[in-house]
């Protein structure tokens, strides 16, 4: 650097957060004697306007061209101070921050030690900043197209918000129709709105929207690229039905002779045909043929649907289609799976006929369900006289899932109301705690109390058909401790409903890897920050919304869908996005083309240029983690803003200071 280096050092008090432990005046005084330091000040709140103006004034007045601020974590205010430098004409990468709060005053109780450490940290920063180079950020354009994965309520909401703004949305859904789990429900709490009635208008909006390309019976195969520039390959699976020709008349379904248990939409409680639409209001109204159960595909005979189709839309030779699209942002709204209640052996699901899961009960009460909305026992004809509803099945349990599934208490209350309304039965709810936090939820609990539901506070120990006395014969007995009276009770009921919890989709991990994001230990897709950034992920350009991020109710899913859409629209509105300039760079002269860096890059941000035989960093994907720098044997890759020179200067600054301070310590 031909230019003379002039460093300005600013020590922040941060009120008493730093100044209460570190002698900031002393540190500022001491820093003024460090090499290249032209001015050294301390101030109460550097991040405030006067604080920033102080830096800007010094830059103008004294020709400061390197700035060091010793204050809090860069996570909070690196951007702030970089901004101050920029405004005064100094490249933001000629700024360095020393964290003397989180890394010093907040973790050191001894004041002398804290001050010593502060001096070392400041010296480190001053040493480093002298070697820093001006860098320019990369700006990448944002493709205004958006991909939404998942056609449930969250995905639908996100898609509509983006599409209404005028931008194009590709909506990919794995099942034959939109709707997700919400389409399976009968009524929704707390308003007892009919689920299909409030959902289907939105589904139709999506189906008819000029800005939405809806691809159902499809899955995302591959994702490449980076924020603003994703290339996505979608597998549109063969429906074996020519969509433009199909009118949705339903004759094929009527004539199909093969009946199959519907394990998806009917939760195993009802039947469908081998050619089917999952429910009458399906969007699109085009059926699909289930290859594994179709007599033609398995044995080569039948073809009844083809015979009867009035428009000749059945096409057995249809193939999967691979479609490649370019989008700028992706919203994942892939939803949840239901906990498998068979795992809880003591509740007898799967062995005892009249033990049902929550989803099975939804299908029973649903007017379009297998019993036309009537609540019957497993024999399909008997109306239960007593119903027991068990909360927390598979949730809040270290043996299965440790977390609370958020919606089961409300769902159980809803079932209590519906069971009573439809059958007049005596209803018992068995709970540990009653979780009714959101708007109108507790009022719903009170409504159910008023209706005469029996509440027993106790986690059910077992459901059995083994009678101990004549009054229990022929019933299911729920054995539980009624904790509020401290006694074990046996309650004979006709029907048991298990409120099984919510769990991540079985393929959540694969999906996360495919889209370059992560899962938590529980396998929910993980957000950027649990409090302040619940819809973004650590991968720029990929957002999550709805139950895939964690168990939640419909209003929260809708809110998250809209939030993700808003984030995406903000990026599209900006038109381009700034990529952090601290990226890796390959020295093509010394690179030997061994590809070690490519193998170890966690962001797949390095490509191999075959014609040159060299590695090349895709700057937009590079996160500046430095793994490649460590792996590179000829030391051809270096990390901008974290060069060896800079890091060594930083270390020397700190170590020399500690050595000096220890040596000159007053005994």
């Amino acid at each position: 650097m031909s230019e003379e280096i002039k460093v300005g050092v600013y020590i922040c008090h941060c009120g008493s957060n730093i100044a209460g432990t570190v002698d900031v005046a002393d540190v500022a005084q001491w820093a003024s004697k460090l090499p290249n330091v032209v001015v050294s000040r301390d101030y109460k709140f550097m991040c405030s306007s006067p604080g920033q103006e102080m830096i800007e004034k010094d830059i103008h007045a004294m020709g400061i061209n390197r700035v060091v601020v010793a204050s809090c974590s860069p996570h909070l205010h690196e951007a702030t101070f970089r901004g101050a430098c920029s405004r005064a004409g100094v490249n933001p990468y000629l700024f360095e921050m020393a964290n003397i709060r989180e890394q010093d005053s907040w973790v050191t109780s001894d004041k002398t030690e804290a001050t010593k450490k502060a001096k070392a940290l400041v010296a480190a920063a001053v040493g480093r900043v002298a070697h820093q180079q001006p860098l320019e950020s990369l700006f990448v354009p944002i493709d205004p197209n958006v991909l939404v994965v998942g056609g449930g309520i969250a995905g639908i909401q996100a898609a509509l918000e983006v599409a209404d703004s005028g931008h194009h949305v590709f909506l990919v859904e794995r099942e034959p129709s939109l709707g997700g789990h919400m389409a399976q429900f009968d009524k929704t709490f707390p308003t007892l709105d009919c689920s299909a009635c409030i959902l289907t208008p939105k589904m139709f909006s999506v189906g008819n929207h000029k800005n939405i390309t809806m691809m159902t019976w499809s899955e995302v195969d591959k994702v490449e690229g980076y924020i603003g520039n994703f290339t996505v390959t979608i597998r549109k699976r063969a429906r074996y039905i020519d969509e433009p020709l199909c009118t949705g008349c339903g004759v094929c379904q009527e004539k199909c002779p093969k009946k199959v248990i519907d394990n998806v939409f009917e939760a195993g409680l009802g039947y469908r045909k081998a050619v089917y639409t999952p429910f009458p209001q399906a969007v699109p109204n085009t059926p699909v043929i289930d290859r594994e159960n179709c007599t033609y595909f398995q044995k080569g005979t039948c073809r009844a649907c083809e015979k009867f189709c009035p428009t000749g839309a059945i096409k057995f030779d249809q193939q999967d289609e691979l479609i490649t699209i370019k989008v700028g942002n992706i919203i994942l709204a892939t939803g949840y799976d239901l906990f498998d209640a068979r795992k809880v052996g003591q509740y007898g699901y799967g062995r005892l006929a009249n033990v049902f899961t929550n989803m099975e009960f939804e299908r029973l009460t649903n007017a379009a369900g297998p019993t036309g909305g009537k609540v019957f026992l497993r024999d399909g004809v008997t109306v239960p006289k007593t119903v027991g509803i068990i909360h927390c099945v598979g949730s809040r349990d270290t043996n299965y899932h440790n977390y609370c599934s958020a919606i089961c208490c409300m769902q159980s209350l809803k079932f209590a109301h519906l069971a009573m309304e439809k059958t007049g039965a005596e209803v018992y709810n068995f709970y540990i705690d009653m979780r009714t936090p959101a708007k109108s939820y507790d009022e719903f609990y009170q409504k159910v109390l008023r209706e005469g539901t029996h509440f027993i506070r106790g986690r059910v120990a077992e459901v059995t058909d083994c009678a101990r006395q004549p009054s229990e014969e022929g019933k299911l007995i729920i054995q539980v401790e009624d904790t509020l009276i401290g006694r074990q009770r046996r309650i004979p009921v006709d029907m048991v409903v298990l409120s099984a919890g919510l769990q991540p989709r079985a393929d959540a991990k694969e999906v996360a890897i495919k889209f370059g994001i992560s899962c938590s230990a529980d396998q929910w897709l993980i957000e950027k920050h649990p409090k302040l950034d619940p819809v973004a992920t650590m991968t720029d350009g990929v957002f999550i919304a709805g139950a895939c991020q964690g168990p939640k109710d419909i209003p929260s899913s809708v809110a998250q869908g809209a939030a993700a859409a808003a984030r995406v629209l903000s990026l599209i509105g900006q038109g381009e996005v700034e990529i952090e300039a601290a990226t890796a760079i390959v020295d093509e002269v010394t690179c030997v083309g061994c590809k070690q860096c490519i193998a170890c890059c966690p962001y797949t941000a390095i490509e191999y240029l075959a014609d040159k035989g060299k590695a090349h960093v895709i700057e937009a994907l590079c996160k500046g983690c430095g793994t490649c720098v460590g792996a590179c044997l000829p030391k051809s890759i270096s990390l901008k803003h974290f060069t060896d020179e800079q890091l060594v200067a930083e270390m020397i600054g700190a170590m020399q200071t500690m050595k000096y301070l220890e040596a000159t310590e007053v005994a």
Binding site: I261, G345, G380, T398, R468
Partner: protein, 329 residues
Amino acid sequence: MKYNYYPGCSLEKSASSYDVSTRAIAPALGIEFMEVEDWNCCGATEYIALNRMAAYALTARNLALASKNKESDQLIAPCSACYLNLRKCNQYLYDDEPLAKNVNIALAEGGLSYEAGSLRVRHLLDIVVNDVGYDAIQAKVTKPLTGLRIAPYYGCLIVRPDFGRGKHKSHETTFDNPEYPTSLDKLLKVLGAEVVDFPYKAHCCGGHMTQISDATGFEIIRRLIKGASDYRADMVVTLCPMCQMNLDAFQGAVNVHFKTNYHMPVLFFTQMIGLAFGMSAQEMGIGTELVDARPALAKIGVEVPPPEDEGTVKKPKKDDKSLPMPRLE
């Protein structure tokens, strides 16, 4: 296959038929048992009620003695209570270092020591169904128990606690489901019997409860016998001497207390294996039960129609409104 064998106090006399039948079928199963040299009582549920360190030392002495035999690192217990004590001791010594250290100091006074986790403690049923295997057993059946309705009774300690569940994963996991085990059911099926799957098959027999409060103890026993009886079982087959004693020896007292009239014989699974292999009732120690098993055993050999196929999804008939059941497998 060689194993260390820990009979436990009950198998000496009060449940001698279990020991006799186990040893009798061992050669046919390809098993060689090496009895632990000079083993002592595991402590049952009594010693640990009044002692902590000494209770672990008492049980650990057996682990230490077994571990001296270098021919096998597996310790087999036919009694569920002994199995639980040995397994739990092994697990807690593994988890709790100070406990292991102190127990070894105590063991040293008897010239012994034990490294936690160096032995694998297993129940007799475990090695029969998993090491010998159902297929190998089926191949040796010459006199299938066709016509006999048997209620398999596991009791509690063979399948609980499962230290492998939840957060604290460990090496002492159970070999069958803690709520709803099926290994003995499968074994009896393989021996040709009709298996009666009654709901209380893994519920507790009450242990020593009859001696603490006969009303409570007898009620616990009554539920089990009633369950097997309601499901029309001809006999109950068990794998623990305490369970056998409670259900068999105390059945008379239960009948008196509740004015019931049960005659449910209770045998050990090893006796059933022996009978199916063509060995005599005498060799199996049958005849020592208080509730006579002979009327039930007289049924073997009677022709019965093959059981209904429960595996396929039945096509719903025209008027059948019943809803499909979820499948367990």
